[in-house]
Symmetry: C2
Subunit: 324 residues, 2 copies
């Protein structure tokens, strides 16, 4: 233990209560810990730190040479793997997993809302109209295609399966098929299964490889009765392509929480589509109390592990932007 130096640890996490701070202090015991609000971080704080925990504004980071370990509190790392932000020798980790429940549940609620025409009933309610909207869908026996079978995708798949769906998963890298997934394919095989889906639930991360992933051709390949849900990143669908697919009836309806441009401009034609549910990138965040607890858990464990030279969770590969 003799030669161990004291680390400067900058903690800029949101939503912390005193209990959370206590646990973070304990994880970093023996070191110099500074708590700040993420939006009040100064360049001097960053220069000072060997360890940062929390998402400080990426433009403030100019490849800080002293920074050894950077623990994000987000599940994505898009803004931090970009050129010129971090020195590639910095170990970068995310809070992937903390948001799985909240995002997956939002996606499930959106799916069921569309299946049961509740978006149309809400509109009719606003017009004081007692109008039957006809045929409904169901998860029971539906073919549900989860594109991006990471932690969020698995959480959603498990719930869909519990409600009687037949679940097909698609992911970037081969892995063992979980019990609650009926068929598993590589992303490269997507087009072989796209036409079978009653629901396409997409949670692709934002990266160069996922840019405009859902082409007009892919929407045409979906069933005309298909429900499309996007709770990943907005870059996966060009906004005009989505609009065309919905206006042209290539798919029945969609629920979208993420857009190429956020906030979605008030002038966007997407707002007025009856068969599109727009939510304002609200599926994640800290709207579910359990999310904060899981985020703090990951930060505490990874901070302690880093300081002890132990194994880290959720380390990001700068080349892919994905978990290593």
């Amino acid at each position: 233990m003799g030669g161990r130096t004291i680390k400067h640890i900058l903690i800029a996490l949101p939503e912390l209560n005193e209990g959370h701070r206590e646990r973070l202090r304990a994880a970093g015991a023996g070191n110099d810990i500074r708590f700040v609000e993420a939006n009040e971080v100064a360049p001097a704080d960053i220069e000072w730190a060997e360890v940062i925990v929390g998402n400080v504004p990426a433009p403030l980071l100019h490849e800080p040479g002293k920074l050894e370990f950077y623990q994000l509190c987000s599940s994505g790392a898009d803004a931090y793997v970009a050129e010129g932000i971090l020195d590639r020798r910095t170990i970068l980790a995310t809070c992937t997993g903390a948001y799985s429940q909240t995002v997956a549940e939002h996606a499930l609620a959106s799916t069921l809302m569309l299946q049961k025409n509740l978006h149309l009933y809400r509109d009719a309610q606003r017009r004081h109209e007692w109008t039957d909207m006809g045929r409904v869908g169901t998860m029971e026996g539906a073919v549900v295609l989860v594109v991006g079978l990471g932690e969020i995708g698995c959480y959603y798949a498990r719930m869909a399966k519990a409600l009687g769906a037949y679940v097909i998963g698609v992911k970037r890298r081969a892995s063992e098929k979980p019990d609650y997934v009926d068929e598993l394919y590589l992303t490269a095989q997507l087009d072989e299964v796209l036409g079978r889906a009653d629901v396409v639930m997409s949670v692709l991360p934002g990266s160069a490889a996922t840019e405009h992933f859902y082409t007009a051709e892919r929407f045409r390949a979906m069933k005309r009765s298909c429900i499309f849900v996007n709770c990943g990143r907005g870059n996966a669908v060009a906004m005009d392509v989505l609009e065309q697919a919905l206006r042209g009836g290539e798919i029945a309806c969609a629920a979208v929480d993420v857009f190429e441009i956020e906030p979605l401009p008030a002038s966007s034609p997407l707002w007025d589509l009856d068969n599109l549910l727009v939510t304002p990138h609200a599926s994640g965040f800290y709207h579910l109390p359990a999310t904060v607890e899981r985020m703090v858990d990951i930060c505490v464990k990874n901070l302690a592990a880093y300081l002890a030279g132990g194994e880290l969770m959720n380390v990001v590969d700068f080349n892919t932007g994905y978990k290593k």
Copy 2:
């Protein structure tokens, strides 16, 4: 077999295809079967029949003396157990069970929609507003109270449990507790558990005993964060009591598919409550293809059983309006 007389069987079921008719003909083979549309039934058809299958308008029935067996296609029998409609010697059966999936799924979709603020996001969408609605709820760990643990209630309870809820069931008569229900009480004990519920899902049938069941006092006894869902009968809640509970913040929000007056008058103040989702008694009906199949299944089985002198399902007790 010698003395067996040929029965006149009037079939007035909705949504039948040729396959369904074939099965009904087979079930009544050897008898005289007449298919009519329910809204085209004439008094002469009713006088002719010893057996009716399907919901003919109750006011046309004046205790027809020849009618031995009446198989409804609805899950409720309210209109047919009223005075002066059927001779009490007629055996009356319902299609309870056929609608469990569609009603329970509508109720679940409504619950999740409210938990995730999707009704508010839909409203904001209509105003082109990118506004975060804050804190959300979840089924995971929620205490879900199902009032009326019949077939619909059980279907809902099973799904809620699969999504991580702690389920409390309340029912009129003692019975064994299903696995997916954590605690089971008699309706008389409701007030002991009402204050624990994060979600109250009500599927009480329409009867004198359920008239204005949810009093102002009961709404006050619920958590202020409680979500109330009614997919049973509208008579369980007086409309002004519901309005007060929602305006006064006694409960957080509600999703209601059934009303004391249906259609809900365009002038009703309920339409404009942000924290109420109004749907037009649409949870049941034949919006889910599986419902028609189950309805025909029950009618075919009960018709065959009646003609063979076998045991019938879903026979109604005229005194309670419930299954015997």
